[in-house]
């Protein structure tokens, strides 16, 4: 009985064993097999967040990004088009571009100087013979979509078409912030000692916020993420009623300004899992900063909307908070069964100047603290699910509904890709 949760049985048995309303069976979090399957079925066959249009601002700007054992390059070509390719030379497979940011004229493989145009065409392959069919050795393209300035890629040849739905919902919501013309003011990588699904579960609830995230809680209404209506103290109930009233007032204001705000959920039943909602920022209401005031004087998109709140967006491997003065975008990449990279970027107006328009420490303080706290929690959760004593536990139907949906979605998607038996 104890052994069964460490068995090498097919994943199918564990996918089948998942009980609705409960966290996943342990091997789905801990086993090498599940990790490899996730890299394939989730990270290679779904649209995952990979960066920002403004990461590659000009023709020849290139970003290389590892996704599990794979790697892709994202670049802007000479016609100003965004493109992505597998970061793999068509010759003997060497990595073309080192991780991070580069500026190039062409993509030249460091091994044998095979040279590709920015559209992926093989321009030069020395010593392959005059009859070598260069046209057959184009870089392998990766499907790429720019949704309001946030880039999603799908490594498979058959990407899910409901990315159109994400674009339909999010383009008008993100348009006012003009993220395509924003600038990355700061970037941080944190390696969490846990499975990527624990990273995502941790992110999709705020049940732990009040006690674990003192800084974030100044600007977050934890109640936005659910609560037990019968479990409130009188003070909490008054607060919750006041928040509901605030949403009525803000909603009317947002409607008047043409700012979409309703919650849209696109989870179970869809390949491209996302949820969005405009949230009220707590405290002084402007931004996720230590004093809840805007951190940047020059607002995103050039127009100040101090009451516009937080345009919140969750994806398969990402979460985003877009505010009037700045945005924070997060993406998670699996490094191993028990290691996940969380990459955070803070975005400001491209013309905002550090030291003049914003203080970098103030801009980044809340989420630097929150990321460190979350890394600790994810490590605790991973060590827990790896224990013989772990049994999938009950999600709160009030505060963890989104986790239940995420786990259900995960099992569905793995099943859809043939891992169920």
């Amino acid at each position: 009985m104890l052994m069964e949760h460490r068995t090498r049985d097919g994943l199918g048995a564990w996918l089948a064993a998942r009980r609705p309303g409960h966290s996943l069976p342990a091997p789905l979090y801990t086993s090498e097999d599940a990790w490899l399957a996730d890299c394939d079925a989730i990270f290679s066959r779904h649209w995952v967040a990979v960066g920002l249009a403004c990461d590659v601002e000009e023709a020849g700007d290139v970003i290389a990004l590892d996704i599990g054992p794979s790697s892709i390059v994202i670049l802007r070509d000479e016609e100003d088009r965004l493109r992505a390719f597998h970061n793999v030379c068509s010759h003997r497979g060497a990595r073309l571009v080192p991780p991070g940011r580069s500026v190039v004229g062409k993509l030249v493989c460091p091994y044998h100087q095979w040279t590709y145009d920015l559209d992926g065409a093989l321009a030069l392959a020395p010593h392959m013979g005059v009859d070598f069919p260069r046209g057959l050795h184009h870089l392998k393209p990766v499907a790429l979509r720019d949704v309001g300035g946030i880039l999603y890629a799908c490594l498979s040849d058959d990407p899910p078409d409901d990315i159109d739905e994400l674009a339909r919902v999010m383009e008008p919501r993100l348009a006012p912030y003009d993220l395509r013309n924003a600038r990355v003011a700061h970037e941080q990588d944190v390696i969490e000692a846990g499975n990527w699904k624990l990273t995502m579960e941790n992110n999709r609830e705020c049940y732990h916020c009040a006690s674990k995230h003192p800084q974030l809680s100044l600007s977050f209404h934890a109640a936005d993420f659910g609560y037990d209506p019968d479990g409130l103290s009188d003070g909490e109930r008054a607060e919750s009623d006041a928040l509901a009233e605030a949403y009525r007032r803000h909603g009317a204001h947002w409607d008047a300004e043409g700012l979409p705000h309703a919650a849209v959920e696109h989870t179970v039943g869809w390949p491209t899992n996302f949820r969005t909602q405009r949230l009220i920022i707590a405290g002084l209401g402007e931004s996720q900063t230590p004093d809840t005031r805007a951190a940047v004087t020059l607002p995103l998109g050039g127009q100040d909307r101090p009451w516009s709140g937080d345009m919140h967006l969750w994806g398969i491997n990402s979460w985003n908070h877009v505010m009037s003065d700045h945005a924070v975008v997060f993406a998670a990449y699996p490094l191993g069964p028990d290691r996940t990279l969380v990459r955070t970027k803070w975005l400001v107006h491209r013309d905002a100047v550090e030291g003049e328009d914003y203080d970098l420490d103030n801009l980044t303080a809340v989420w630097r603290a929150t990321n460190a706290e979350d890394a600790h929690l994810v490590a605790l959760a991973h060590r827990g699910v790896a224990s013989a004593g772990y049994r999938p536990g009950p999600y709160s139907r009030f505060t963890e509904r989104a986790l239940d949906e995420f786990s259900t979605w995960y099992v569905d998607r793995m099943t859809a890709h043939g891992y169920a038996g």
Copy 2:
């Protein structure tokens, strides 16, 4: 033929291939599969040493201990009862208590503040709804037995009942030393670069002592652990005859004082493997110290018995030397196929004061040196069994009989738990 020892074949074939009188087939020491199976069949279904009653002296004292991928908490509850639980929150599995020692009022999960009484009852689970059946989410208990102050736990719901036999034999042997009221004067963790079974085999013979443990050999009679009677030099034979005579004299003395001393072996055929015997200490005969004199002026249990020797006890994952002035207890925990934690605790009378009643360096010198020497030997042994050239070798029937029995016991227990094919 070479490959066969690295195959992924079931463990059953390797358990079946073990030849009596010989060390184990290599994959039983080196493979990930065997390690996982050992964590299950041995470390989760047998009684293993986990600490001391005096580790958790007062109500609210808690120790968290990792056992393979699992973790348990051992605590003293408000009725002064010792209890153990899986160190896993019933909610989403997070580790409740960090490794090591804590003092708590209740057990509060650091993730979402689920709160457990010291008897494991779920006292508080916020936002789970008024109808949430808290009674179903008790901490999962772990079977725990205090045998003369040494704690044994079994992670399975069906622990072997022959722990009663260990208690029957050892309670009277340990009673004079009152270990329940001792104090841990020093604790040391050593990570050995070898499989836990090589750690245990290394411990269960003293064939290597004379050449490898110069310090320990001052207080150890290697002959206690067997020798070839036909292979002795004249000097060795005189020594061996003198030792036999000393045992006759000591035996009479021990009988007169009511100190049990006969060897008791409880190995092949029993789930709970142990061996105990009262041993004569060499040299001046008092203690395992550099000068073989007592290291502590205030004896264990308050009564000085300078000639009581070494109440020696071997267990599945542990070995112990209990002397008049102090005790040294050791336990091994598997960290991976080729990594084992050896935790050593030096126990003194609870009122003994460092610097007055004992010198810590003198108290710990012999076994600190011996542990370091053993770690080196276990690493050599592990690298050896991992080699293509390894074939299970012959145990000496004089000096390694206990290893033969341990290996036979191991194969039997794995078989009993369904790993034989």
Copy 3:
């Protein structure tokens, strides 16, 4: 489709999937299973380079060498004979000799002092009983061949007999350099972050030399390793014609001096893969040094042959450059699927004195630089083949013919040893 290259399917499917003219399917480079199979089928059942006769110059000189998870000792016995054994005590398997160089009278196991004569006979096994059949517990011998001073070992009991062919071809080629009486002036270990087959592929082409090895290119004619005759510039064609003419002149000279020089290839179809050819050194033509002049005033074998070029020899896990003034010998040992040790030794006349007859920095400069460059390339290649976007790519039929043959040989040998399904 993406997943298929990470599957746990038998290696047989991947061996069968290899297309002629193309690099190997990814799992053959990246999987743990392939690594274990390579350690068995290639490194334990073929003749691999393990060192030099002059590594163990005198009776009692011992070298211990790890080959994958295994370890061997190579020694010179009291009759001045070279011998090799598994570095595994016949008792409980402990490593007998630590890695590197030792000088011993007998081989004494550090664990229980089992003692072996230098011919491997068990001389002493204390406490095993007077009737213990020591003759059955001889050290397990390893087949060893000295080919012109270069040592090859085969760990299997059934070594391929075409080592005779290697000896027949190479003895006369190596004789003039008297490597058996050379001396190791410098030794360097580099750990490359890639599979050993990528190390060997990288070594068997010079397609990357011009752009990646500026120092080596001063003394190497890349054209020696193939080029596209239709892809040359006028300048390159003139160079290539000049080189062909130089070979005609040198060939006549070498014939006159009795120096064998023709290319001999012994690859596909043979167990013992090797290729040899005498190459012209570029520049001033004397040696692979920064100024292409001899680095050592006292030549190998005592006779100066400044125009004798580079006696080049490739093996399964080795490559060698033997020049008039010094030799550089390289061997690769697999440490894991993605880690390979490359050990380089620089050989000089045994009487050559550092600081007088040669400057160590000058002697080693070219290959120290080249090894560092190659380690980088192998790491890029390994990361590439591990990516979802990798597909086996086309080898150049001009510059990578030797790789195609090596990959074909590899698949054949794995098949011959039963890994094909």
